[in-house]
Structure formats: structure tokens, C-alpha cells
Amino acid sequence: MTSKKQRHVVAKEDEFKVGARTILKVGGREIGVFHTTAGLFALRNSCPHQAAPLCLGPVTGTTMPSMPGEYIWGMDGQVLRCPWHGWEFDLKSGVGLYDPYKHERVATYEVKVEQGEVVLYA
């Protein structure tokens, strides 16, 4: 239902640099908007596990699937960890990295730069 999504100005582009995040209230939902080294992301501020304020968690990378004893760091700036239990989510897709079947995901939203403003569609 793209047509029902509304345009929200989050910030001026030059005031929302890498490392910035903010949490907005949009029609009863809380949505976290992030500018990380991997880009702009927006997702729902509620962890599917115990309803923690997910978007307060650290943005990081993680160890990628590998062979036993092998450690490969990846997805830098693309992983959001829940501030309570550390569950990992892909900021791009909202998918939980702990879920081998990729069924569990947090809602994500379109966020981009338009005419010097960071804009959220939600």
C-alpha cells in the first residue's frame, strides 16, 4: 500500500551525518532512522523478542557464516543489535540474523535523500 505512505522530513542532510540516529513517532509507531557507514536505514523501534526499544541498540558489524575456527568480520554498519539481549538484525532487510530460516523480521521503511533533506516514507 505504497500510496498510503506519507513523506516525513527527518533532518537536513548535512545535519544527519554518518553515526546519526533519531527515533520518530509516526502515526503511533516509533521508527528509528540511522545513517551508518553502510547507508541510510529506517526500522520499527520494537524487538520481536521482548518488545525492547530496538533502535537504542548499537550499530555494528558481525561475524559472517564461516567454517569452525574461522572468523570473518562483515556487514559493518549494517547490523543493529537489540539493547537488551543483543539479538542481531540486518538494517537493510530487518531480518533477524539469529533466525536460520529468515522468517523473523522487523518492519523496515524507505529512507533517502531528496533535495538536501533526509526523508522517510512510512
Partner: protein
């Protein structure tokens, strides 16, 4: 627009109050600076400690997510669990918690120190600090903070003297030792602790965290594991060994009013041990002739378990079956573990549980256990 985690935590209240009042049986307050204990230490130990601190040994097992929730730093900064007003607001008001049991933080490490005299002195200093701060009339408004007194299991006679010294304080509600003892708790060497605790109507609680440190020995029955995830998952092994030992060594026969609380040690093992021990008792009773009831009866009567980190089976049906199997309406005490990383939110963690059982777990079981310290 660059929001810090701390600022957002204060700015985004998340009302999640349960309709039931809670008694939270595992909350971790902290000492801002260990020098706060100096006034309560004998001079010789102050000199020994000097500027280097208390030297709580590390096991080397490091959590990859940190020790704390990321939204629990007090508004004025500092270590989580050091600001009573913030704890009241973020935990007690947020989740409708009437009483919290303050179980300390790093201080638990004294139970693994090789010097038993130093460990006993530290325990006493910590208890006096608690009485002068969190449990003082000025801070403990309404008496809603209850404390666990620390004792050093390395010297059970000194521990018993400490229980006698402060056991009748109105807000020390139980005796606390680390689950990583050097022998299973039913061993005769520990009986003076149980005798003193029973004398003062205080439960004895064991809490994990020290496994693998200093004199505590390997953290699992199989030896030294590699990762924190292995270390943390195996912590209930200690509780299992203690539970079996306490029953078989006749501790509850000798001290029939004693209660033992397994804090933060899981719950799934409890029915397993009850059933296995009952089965073995039928064949091997000859070895433990002082047990005149089924082992599981002693366990249900004398043992309590705190809930967090609660097991999360794939279905509600399995979860409710587990609660029934462990006799949760009598044995299970709610705990959140605030402000640690594996905190349980009572609203979400117990969503599937019917109201009458929730009341038992959230409040009534604890209110009965600690009744002599409540108004």
C-alpha cells in the same frame, strides 16, 4: 539530530506495566567506586587493598554483548545500578514492581577469592555499606528495597557469625553466596551457614557468575569450555549438583525450616532432577536412610528458583507444561536481572501464563518466602 543512546533512553518511556504487582527477586545494584567500602573495612584490610582495588579475579569468559542492557545508564552517568532513583523509575515504576531484591554485582566475586579472611572481611564491609546506603531509612523509601547479605563460603563459621551479626536487620531478606563453591552445598562443611540462616528465618540464595574464577574450579562438569555462550549455557549444572547434594546430605532433614533459592540458574533442570532422583531413591534409598519422603518432596518444599533467564520453548504449550512440571505455583519466583543484558520483561516473558499462576510467580511465592521481612 545525533541522538545518543542515553538521551533516547530517557526520552522514550515504554509503559509496559503489568496489572499484577511484582516482587523482583534478582536485581543488581552496584558500588560506584570500591573505595566506598573502605570505611567498613578493618584497617589492616584497607592497607592490603590500598589503591589497587579488590582484585576480583576474572574467569576470562567475556560476553560479546557486554554485561548491561544498553539503555540503563543513569541520567547523571556512571555505572548502571548505582542510582536508586533511576532504578525506581526504570524498573519499579515501569513494570509495577513493589519489592526488589538487591543481589549486588561484582561483589559476588569475593566467593572465589583464595584468601578466606579477606573474603569474609569484604562480605561484612559490603553488608555494612548496603545497610548505610540502599537499605538505609533515607534511601529505602517505603522499605521496598530488600537486600541479600553476602557471606564468604570459604569460611562457613565466619559466614555463620556474619549471619548472626546482621540477620535480624529488617531489610536483609536472604543470605547470598556464589554457586561456584569448592564443594557441593550439601557437604557438612557448609552446614553452619544453613543452621545460622534457619535460625534467623533467612533463605540461602546461590547465584552464578563466578564459575571458572580463581579457586572456583572449572566452570562445567566436563571442564573448561571455550566461549562465553558455552559458559553461560552450562551455569545450571552448578545448581543441579547443589540441589542433589542438599537433598541427599540431609540438609532439609537437619534444618526443616530452611529454604534455598537458585537464582538465575534456569528452571528446565528442576523437573528432570526431581524425577531422576525419585527414581534412583526407589533403588538406592539405603544410602540416604534419613530421607523419609521422596526427594522431589524436599525439593518442592525447600527449593525456590528465580525465573530469569526464562527458557523460551518453541510453543506456549511446552512452556506451560514446564511450569506445571516444576510446580511453578509454589517454586517459581519472578526475576528480571535488571540491569544486565539478559533482562526479562515480565509482560512479554509471561504472556502465555494464566492470571492465577502469574500472581503466584510474580508476587505471592516471594511474599511468602520473605514474609518475615515484609510489613
Amino acid at each position: 539530530m545525533v541522538a545518543t543512546i542515553e538521551r533516547e533512553a530517557a526520552a522514550v518511556p515504554r509503559p509496559q506495566r503489568t496489572k499484577h504487582e511484582l516482587f523482583d527477586c534478582d536485581v543488581h545494584q552496584s558500588i560506584k567506586d570500591y573505595r566506598e567500602l573502605h570505611p567498613y573495612l578493618p584497617e589492616a584490610w584497607r592497607k592490603y587493598v590500598g589503591a589497587r582495588g579488590f582484585g576480583g579475579p576474572s574467569s576470562g569468559y567475556q560476553t560479546s554483548v557486554g554485561l548491561y542492557r544498553k539503555d540503563v545508564v543513569p541520567p547523571g552517568g556512571g555505572e548502571p545500578g548505582t542510582d536508586p532513583a533511576w532504578l525506581r523509575q526504570q524498573l519499579m515504576e515501569q513494570y509495577n514492581v513493589r519489592y526488589v531484591l538487591l543481589n549486588g554485582g561484582g561483589i559476588l566475586g569475593l566467593c572465589a577469592l583464595p584468601d578466606e579472611d579477606f573474603a569474609s572481611a569484604l562480605a561484612s564491609a559490603y553488608n555494612d555499606w548496603m545497610a548505610a546506603t540502599w537499605l538505609s531509612p533515607e534511601v529505602n523509601i517505603g522499605g521496598r528495597f530488600k537486600g541479600s547479605m553476602m557471606v564468604a563460603p570459604q569460611d562457613p563459621l565466619a559466614a555463620a557469625r556474619e549471619i548472626d551479626r546482621i540477620g535480624d536487620h529488617p531489610h536483609f531478606a536472604q543470605v547470598m553466596i556464589a554457586s561456584a563453591t569448592t564443594a557441593p552445598l550439601g557437604a557438612k562443611q557448609f552446614h553452619p551457614i544453613f543452621e545460622a540462616a534457619e535460625r534467623h528465618g533467612l533463605p540461602v540464595a546461590v547465584h552464578p557468575g563466578v564459575e571458572g574464577r580463581a579457586i572456583a574450579g572449572p566452570p562445567t562438569a566436563a571442564g573448561w569450555v571455550s566461549k562465553y555462550i558455552e559458559w553461560h549455557t552450562c551455569l545450571p549444572q552448578q545448581a543441579m549438583s547443589h540441589a542433589v547434594s542438599l537433598v541427599c546430605q540431609g540438609v532439609f532433614v537437619k534444618y526443616p525450616k530452611l529454604k534455598v533459592v537458585f537464582t538465575e540458574s534456569g528452571i528446565g533442570w528442576f523437573p528432570h532432577v526431581m524425577w531422576r532422583l525419585d527414581r534412583n531413591y526407589k533403588s538406592l534409598r539405603q544410602e540416604v536412610p534419613w530421607l523419609t519422603r521422596l526427594p522431589s518432596e524436599y525439593m518442592r518444599e525447600h527449593m525456590r528458583l528465580t525465573s530469569q533467564p526464562i527458557e523460551e520453548p518453541p510453543t506456549d504449550g511446552q512452556f506451560l507444561s514446564l511450569l506445571e512440571a516444576m510446580d511453578a505455583k509454589q517454586t517459581l519466583l519472578f526475576s528480571s536481572d535488571y540491569p544486565h543484558w539478559d533482562f526479562d520483561n515480565p509482560v512479554e516473558a509471561f504472556r502465555a501464563v494464566p492470571d492465577d499462576l502469574k500472581r503466584r510467580i510474580f508476587y505471592e511465592n516471594a511474599a511468602e518466602l520473605y514474609a518475615n521481612k515484609l510489613p
